[in-house]
Symmetry: C2
Subunit: 187 residues, 2 copies
């Protein structure tokens, strides 16, 4: 299910530039961040396959636990994606009984999306996976150092204006354009 596909992305600017002072490159931290972030995300996705879920599913479940009865439009906005993409993802998790689309009686165009009990149980399992993931990821650091790291990262994230809930994917790092599809006009 999870593929082992790799992708060329960057290479470290660690090379020998200094005049002998073993100066670690000035952009080493940025590279490390990207490299480790990729690694962390990949490992997390791997853990999720135990539950036969992909990261996007987990993101949906979590948002639903925080914001029940959300509409698909709003959910798409929160996740930073387009409503059309949500359809299939919601189909996945609804088909497995993790969420429910309930009709809104006031406006029958809208669906209110809810987490089911099974969805909540799955979310708990995801939490357990996450904790295990975190433990194995940071074995090299003491408890205190982990907190130190988290604090530094949080400050960077805040300054960079990242939201605390969701992060966009890594899809189009290659500098390509994802395709300009569109339906044909029927006659």
């Amino acid at each position: 299910m999870i593929s082992i596909c790799k992708n060329i992305c960057m290479s470290s600017p660690s090379a020998s530039e200094g005049k002998g002072k073993a100066a670690s490159s000035p952009s080493a931290a940025a590279f490390l961040l990207a490299q480790l972030g990729s690694h962390a995300a990949s490992k997390f996705a791997g853990h999720l396959t135990e539950l036969k879920l992909v990261p996007a599913h987990a993101g949906i479940l979590r948002i639903l636990s925080q914001t029940p009865a959300i509409t698909q439009q709003a959910l798409a906005r929160k996740l930073g994606t387009v409503p059309s993409r949500l359809v299939g993802l919601l189909d996945d998790v609804e088909g497995r009984g993790l969420i429910e689309r309930r009709m809104n009686r006031d406006d029958r165009r809208r669906h209110a999306v809810y987490l089911t009990n099974e969805g909540r149980a799955t979310l708990r399992k995801i939490g357990e996976l996450s904790r295990g993931h975190q433990r194995t990821l940071f074995t090299a650091l003491s408890e205190e150092e982990q907190e130190q790291l988290a604090a530094l990262l949080q400050r960077v994230a805040d300054e960079q204006g990242l939201t605390r809930d969701v992060h966009p994917g890594y899809r189009t790092l290659g500098g390509h354009t994802p395709g300009k599809g569109g339906r044909r006009k029927r006659r």
Copy 2:
């Protein structure tokens, strides 16, 4: 050239789980890492568009500067990709005069790939971009804190067995399989 495509990937497990102690979630650091890593990689790719390059190009140039005369097979291995994919990427940079494929006289199947002078100049520009990237990424931190962060990250990366030169991409985090192509047998 660079697309703004977002991708649902994870959501933070930051939710209210503790009993009031404002306990930051145990997997917050892993999430932050993934989120910031994505952000950093995306920004770096954005900077690279100034040079009309994608991250894979930069990775190739850098490896060539460290390992001249490398064969395409070896280069592919170093980058963690398949030789067939390298072909197009090398075509890109060769078409722009940044690299050269020279015929190996001893074994005419092999190409020795070299960086040109123009390629070296481009690599220097990439270095400048990287430094600027790093500066804007870590404005929130003092010089000392940046070093602290880099040290922590490096220890994690080493323990996790990541190489210092290249990192795999973020392509297949969605848990999909990239496609089972293959050529048709002629006749």
